[in-house]
């Protein structure tokens, strides 16, 4: 039996309400995310992904609808909203700009300090998370402004992970990084989930990246929730994904083409292993037909 951690009911958010520039960024979103999932959130630019995740920790307050964390409305007690933010850690798009302390150590300690933990506990958390993201002690006393882009990104993500949130939400954690830097971050995310058992939500533009790590995929389209399903089931609807202007993994594209060319293959393939299996099966079937 799986437990629901995060739930939304008819969530709608309208920017600049009451002016000429009124714009519904998300409309009637109903979701329930189970504990321990790694959810990939995709959707074209402006589909409302960032707007949606800012509701999960109460940065934005919905125009209508509710967000439930462990079954309780996060806005039930307005003064407790900070506790929600410690439970749902959100790392924004290009998080480097949140760095402000003199040293990397102090910056990562900012979140835990706000939680009101004692020195020892903060120190433990910071050291643990630094080791985890691969920042050794030589970084502790460096200024965060002297780091490279990829290192800054890691420090910023570490700053959120240090709060050990139940739900970790990352908005485009790989944006603007080279392939190696991206893989480092993706691996980190997987590791983190394995180690802590927390629920992780990752926003990304890259289907390729998402399909590598996610257990479920959430597709946003034109400020509405299009799909929320397992990776196979979502890729089985490749045609619709393409219609929404989304890119599907190259392997999936290949199988779609085979299908169009008249071969009887599955179209929900997205890993190399699945592809191998399916191709071998196809070859086998082909032999049988020939006999």
């Amino acid at each position: 039996m799986s437990v629901t951690v995060l739930e939304t009911k008819d969530l709608t958010y309208i920017y600049s309400k009451g002016t000429n520039y009124e714009l519904a960024a998300i409309r009637d979103i109903n979701l329930s995310i189970e504990k321990g999932e790694l959810v990939g959130i995709i959707g074209h630019t402006g589909s409302g992904k960032s707007t949606l995740i800012q509701h999960f920790n109460g940065i934005l307050k919905a125009t209508s609808g509710t967000v439930l964390l462990d079954g309780t409305d996060i806005w039930q007690d307005k003064s407790k909203i900070r506790n929600v933010r410690f439970k749902v850690g959100v790392c924004f798009q290009y998080p480097e700009y949140q760095l402000f302390e003199e040293t990397v150590y102090k910056d990562i300690a900012f979140g835990p300090k706000n939680m009101g933990l004692d020195e020892k506990e903060i120190d433990r958390k910071v050291r643990q998370v630094c080791e985890f993201v691969g920042l050794d002690e030589s970084y502790f006393e460096k200024s965060p402004f002297d780091l490279s882009g990829g290192e800054k990104r890691r420090v910023a993500i570490a700053g959120i992970m240090a709060m050990e949130p139940e739900v970790l939400v990352l908005d485009e954690p790989c944006a603007g990084l080279d392939p190696k830097g991206r893989n480092v971050i993706l691996d980190l995310i997987c590791e983190y989930r394995k180690k802590t058992g927390s629920t992780v939500l990752v926003v990304s533009h890259s289907m390729e990246d998402i399909s590598k790590i996610a257990t479920k995929i959430l597709v946003m389209n034109d400020s509405k929730l299009a799909f929320y399903d397992t990776v196979e089931n979502v890729f089985a609807k490749s045609d619709e994904l393409i219609e929404m202007g989304l890119n599907i993994p190259e392997i999936t594209k290949l199988f779609l083409k085979l299908k169009k060319a008249g071969y009887d293959v599955r179209t929900d393939i997205y890993t190399l292993e699945q592809a191998e299996k399916e191709l071998l099966a196809l070859a086998g079937r082909g032999k049988k037909n020939a006999q």
């Binding site: 000429n20 940065i59 933010r85 850690g89 924004f92 700009y97 402000f100 700053g159 959120i160 709060m163």
Partner: protein, 271 residues
């Protein structure tokens, strides 16, 4: 909140006022401000008010936008009005209690001050709503160009103003972004004593300054890459031009100034 700031906001529309040259709009607005302080009785004030209403309607910007720009200064208007009522002397006394006496003169002064401040805001809003910031600073540059004789670097000043106006919305957006990111790490801006609240701003201010300086460097670099070297010998793609409408409006304002002076002269001075 922050997003309600309307300074330097342009409202796109196609109207007679939008088409006027920025220079004439600057002159007209300045004249308007001068005249509104020249008004000494209700008749002349009414004349100016009618002129203002006509201008607001002529620029095809929703009246709501003007109300929005007036809203933040209402406390100031009330404050000045009250001060005027209390401190003005002269005229017939209406009521008096404690050490305060309210006189007709006091009420009139308060009323005039309130109307003047509101007119001031609305008229400058007309200017910013109907003129794109670049045209505005170009206009200022042209108007002040005679100061070059005194070795004032008018072009640089105008360029600085253009850039400042251009970056107001960007910085506001940046502040929102940083505030949200720090809130997500549990930063608390709402509770605590004054000193604690000021301290709580540090995580916002430092990234803001860092990014503002970075932006400034990048901008300077991009400008020098495009061979920007100040105003000397610089020409414009779009030459602003005074048209018939501009001269007509200047003439109209001259007539109105004469009208106000006459009204002041023949109908007595209240304030």
């Amino acid at each position: 909140m922050l997003s309600d700031i309307t300074i330097g906001q342009y409202y796109k529309a196609d109207s007679f006022v939008h088409r006027l040259d920025a220079r004439s709009k600057i002159i007209l607005t300045t004249l308007f401000l001068v005249i509104i302080f020249m008004c000494k009785n209700f008749l002349s004030l009414a004349l100016m008010f009618v002129l203002l209403v006509v201008s607001v309607l002529a620029c095809k910007v929703p009246v709501k936008m003007f109300l929005k720009s007036v809203k933040p200064i209402i406390p100031i208007v009330i404050f000045t009005a009250v001060i005027n009522v209390i401190y003005a002397t002269g005229g017939t006394e209406l009521v008096s209690f404690w050490k305060i006496s309210i006189t007709t003169k006091g009420l009139a002064t308060a009323f005039f001050m309130a109307v003047r401040i509101i007119c001031l805001i609305i008229s400058s809003s007309i200017l910013t709503y109907t003129t794109v910031p670049t045209a505005l600073t170009d206009g200022i540059e042209k108007l002040f160009s005679p100061l070059k004789v005194l070795h004032v670097d008018v072009h640089t000043l105008a360029m600085m103003m253009t850039l400042a106006l251009r970056f107001i919305p960007t910085l506001i957006e940046e502040i929102n972004r940083i505030t949200n990111a720090q809130k997500a790490r549990g930063a608390d801006f709402e509770s605590g004593k004054l000193l604690e609240r000021v301290k709580a701003m540090i995580p916002i201010l430092i990234p803001l300054f860092v990014s503002a300086f970075n932006r400034a460097y990048e901008l300077a670099f991009a400008m020098s890459c495009r061979c920007y070297r100040g105003g000397e010998g610089r020409t414009r793609m779009k030459q602003p031009k005074m048209r018939v409408g501009d001269y007509m409006m200047l003439l109209l304002f001259a007539v109105i100034i004469a009208g106000v002076i006459l009204l002041n002269h023949f109908f007595g001075k209240i304030v």
